[in-house]
């Protein structure tokens, strides 16, 4: 294991002098816990106009099921699903919000705690698409500035009723620097991808924040950093 770690980090000959680093405590913690519980809890939020399919997306993602009957969400709800990313178990607590205006005060209270927000519109409903920018403004007002965002054009199975072209959706997303996917909760298109992408973006942010915050010049005796391997293969959000 230490040998492996050294290779990964591109260590040169010098390091051989040192005894191999023992397994970090955190790692062993991870292993022990891995089987039974989760490493991280990510809180996600779904917003968008009423009837765009937020609940259905969530239902598809959490239960892998779909329901054609429309029942408007009352206020808020959440579901849980634990996924695995990079060997980490991530528990997603996904908040579903009512799209209706009358619940707005309740739902906005949940913005602040969200690490990631899905903005959902309905490709068969232009108005819901136009409202995305209002929703984004809402996020800017109420959510953490670090929040990861993603736009979803739902109901992409209903191509014959499409009012919003995919290009339009993509353009909007690019304008805001947000990732975009067209989804269908009904046909199970891109639903997994959407949530995984958002979770991954959060994960990336986490890793970047927590691993890159070191101040320079702290290497001490171990500053043998000649082989600066360029591996900034970070999956950066287009926003950043």
């Amino acid at each position: 294991m230490p040998a492996l770690a050294r290779q990964c980090c591109g260590w040169g000959v010098v390091v051989v002098e040192f005894p191999p680093p023992s397994l970090p405590a955190s790692q062993s913690l991870g292993c022990a816990k891995m089987a039974k519980t989760y490493d991280y809890l990510f809180k996600l939020l779904l917003i968008g106009d009423s009837g765009v399919g937020k609940t259905c997306l969530l239902f598809r993602f959490s239960e892998d099921a779909f329901n054609t009957t429309f029942i408007s969400t009352i206020g808020i709800d959440f579901k849980i699903r634990t996924i695995e990313l990079d060997g980490k178990k991530i528990k997603l607590q996904i908040w579903d919000t009512a799209g209706q205006e009358r619940f707005r005060t309740i739902t906005t209270a949940y913005y602040r705690g969200a690490m990631g927000i899905m903005l959902v519109y309905d490709i068969t409903n232009e108005k819901s698409f136009d409202n995305i920018k209002n929703w984004i403004r809402n996020i800017e007002e109420h959510a953490s500035s670090d929040v990861e965002r993603m736009i979803l054009g739902n109901k992409c199975d209903m191509n014959e009723k499409r009012q919003v072209s995919k290009e339009k959706g993509e353009k909007l997303a690019i304008d805001y620097g947000i990732k975009f996917l067209e989804t269908s909760a009904k046909s199970s298109i891109n639903v997994e991808e959407a949530f995984f992408t958002l979770a991954r973006d959060i994960m990336t942010k986490l890793n970047r924040k927590m691993n890159d915050n070191s101040s320079p010049g702290a290497g001490g005796p171990v500053k043998i950093t000649e082989n600066r391997s360029k591996k900034s293969s970070f999956f950066r959000c287009t926003l950043l």
Binding site: A5, C8, C9, E17, F18, P19, P21, L23, A25, S26, S28, L29, K33, K36, T37, Y40, L41, K43, S50, G51, T55, F59, E63, A65, F70, I71, S72, T73, I74, G75, D77, F78, K79, I80, R81, G99, E101, R102, T105, I106, T108, A109, Y111, G113, K127, S128, N131, H142, S144, D146, N211, D212, A218, G219, G220, P221, V222, R228, S232, S233
Partner: protein, 750 residues
Amino acid sequence: MTDTMFGSSTDRWMCPNDRPMSLRAKANEKEQLPAGWSVHGNQPERQRKNEELTDEEKEIINRVIARAEKMEEMEQERIGRLMNRLEDMRKNVAGDGVNRCILCGEQLGSACVVCEDCKKNVCTKCGVEATNSRPHSIWLCKICSEQREVWKRSGAWFFKGLPKQVLPRPMPVSKNKPPQAPSEPASSEPPAQDLKLHSRMPSRGQAEAGASAEQDSYGGPEEKRGMGRKPVKSRDPSHDSERGYSSEEENPAAYRGRKGTRPRPEAGSEPTAAVSGRGSYPPPSRKPSEVRMAPSGSEFAGRVAENWEYAAESEVNRSPGSVKRANSVQAARPHPVTSQSSAAQPAPPVGGRQEPGPAGRYPERQVSQSTGPPQTDPAYSAAAPRDERGGGGGYSMPAAREERAMRQPAPYMQAAAPSAPAAPARPLPPPQDDEEDEANSYDSDEATTLGALEFSLLYDQEKSSLHCTLIKAKGLKPMDSNGLADPYVKLHLLPGASKSNKLRTKTLHNTRNPMWNETLVYHGITDEDMQRKTLRISVCDEDKFGHNEFIGETRVSLKKLKSNQKKNFNICLERVIPMKRAGTTGSSRGMALYEEEVDRGGDVEERGKILVSLMYSTQQGGLIVGIVRCVHLAAMDANGYSDPFVKLWLKPDMGKKAKHKTQIKRKTLNPEFNEEFFYDIKHSDLAKKSLDISVWDYDIGKSNDYIGGCQLGITAKGERLKHWYECLKNKDKKIERWHTLQNESHVASD
């Protein structure tokens, strides 16, 4: 999710208000609601435009918040454990971080690095090379590495601090109706969320009529909700201080042990060595308050009601004999000591003291125990008399005990002094021998050495539930290297032990006198079960890596209980009932117990039970079938669980409308469905039909496995007939019954 409650200062903009939902609903009305709309009630359309929320809506929202709060508590508890561990590490720095490694205190030579965060010097053994995207690697001392890990895990990385009160508080509901008012068929109560009434349901009011009796789905009796995860737990918040947060002794010990720089008495060579592994360091004395910097789960009382997602997860967490949720506390201690000792524990460690004692001893022993100082190990205080009787084989390691003495309170010293010289330094006799003699002697002498357990049992005949309240244990045998234990209680119903009927309490850490005060409930216990079954209550020591160790057990034949009468027990734990199998070793011990019971219970094939409600609604002109929950389902999947769902089929001649199914509950043997289905049928026709109920295990990509079923109808027998008959006879009355699932002939799953 935030402190600000419903801050409505924002400019609100209108979104196109709600598409014609009524139309859409109509268009889809032939579809039956599969499931899962957990919090959506059937709100009347008329209120859609209202800005003001109705009380029903508020209640629904409050329930979601309550559900989220429960989850939050769990999360806070988890974070608390992480924080404690970190704190423990901080408290145990041994060096100065300049010439000596900050952590282990070793003189630093060439193997020295500087921690990126705290800038202290650490040896490479105590340092962690951070893997990151930066061009050069950095080192962190283990503390700072852990600190970062805690930030990551707690979400502090995002919220720039430990997330505290993150949920909006519940909304005030104008009328003073508590959400839990299950029996109150208040007309304002919205229909239960999982109510799967046919969408042709004429109006909401009628739906309520059907639902009111079973209103619990979101606010109802907590035990119903909790059933999804089968153990219904109620915790006394006052005991939280004992668990998890008192781990100050164990981690440091492990930490020291890990580095291997301390000479350790040979741990694992025999059981008592578990005690000795601690080295000669006095435990850091610390006030709990110092340790409790983390938000602790102070509101445990309500954790009963878990939502289904949780149910599934908890299920995972409580697979037998393995790492439990609470393990994260200890997870990081690699402690060779305890793992060794656990490996050396094929039998309860202090095996030499096993001779069956005179029954009369038990009461006195118990008294002395309960009056003794909390840290006194009865095993030790009782050592002298036992040695007289020549059974002190367990005391073969005076050295270990001396070490113990250094950190044990006085009572132990006194007891140990006389016994030490008498201790024969011979290895333990094989424990199995003793066990043979021990069989079923409840009052055996050794029981006191294992500890005493106080609990009460109550069989609620009407609700078919057995309530087991685990109060506390005293003087448990020390299991860990620190002379303490991390005890929890497991319950099994015998015969037929399986994961499905195992319940367990929380683990309390570093105590030999745990106060659980938890009530675990078995649902679906019939009178027959009460006659036939035995409750096994075992106390175990939770250990890292799943090497949970058995401390002692007791068994109560349920026959002894009178219905609806609480019976208190205060017993001494005993060792396992002897097994035929030889050579059971430490970690597989639990397995052996299972096997044993499986053997015993083999005569009856247990498929599980299902709680079904039937009501003929005259108003709606149809039968409402409620699938409430199943218990003790047979496990169909390799993981020891099933992904159950229930299918209903009203036969014969009902066509497509005759079939319904519930949603799938993942990875559970005790699913809670709380779904209702409507059959549009005349009362007169109903008598000719029969209702086929089958429980299936959902398998992706394969045909579903049949778990079991039962048929209610006029041609059925026993309970099944009775239930059907009562339903026919009592219109508009909801009747709930448990039915045992059988492996009947069935139609293939679709």
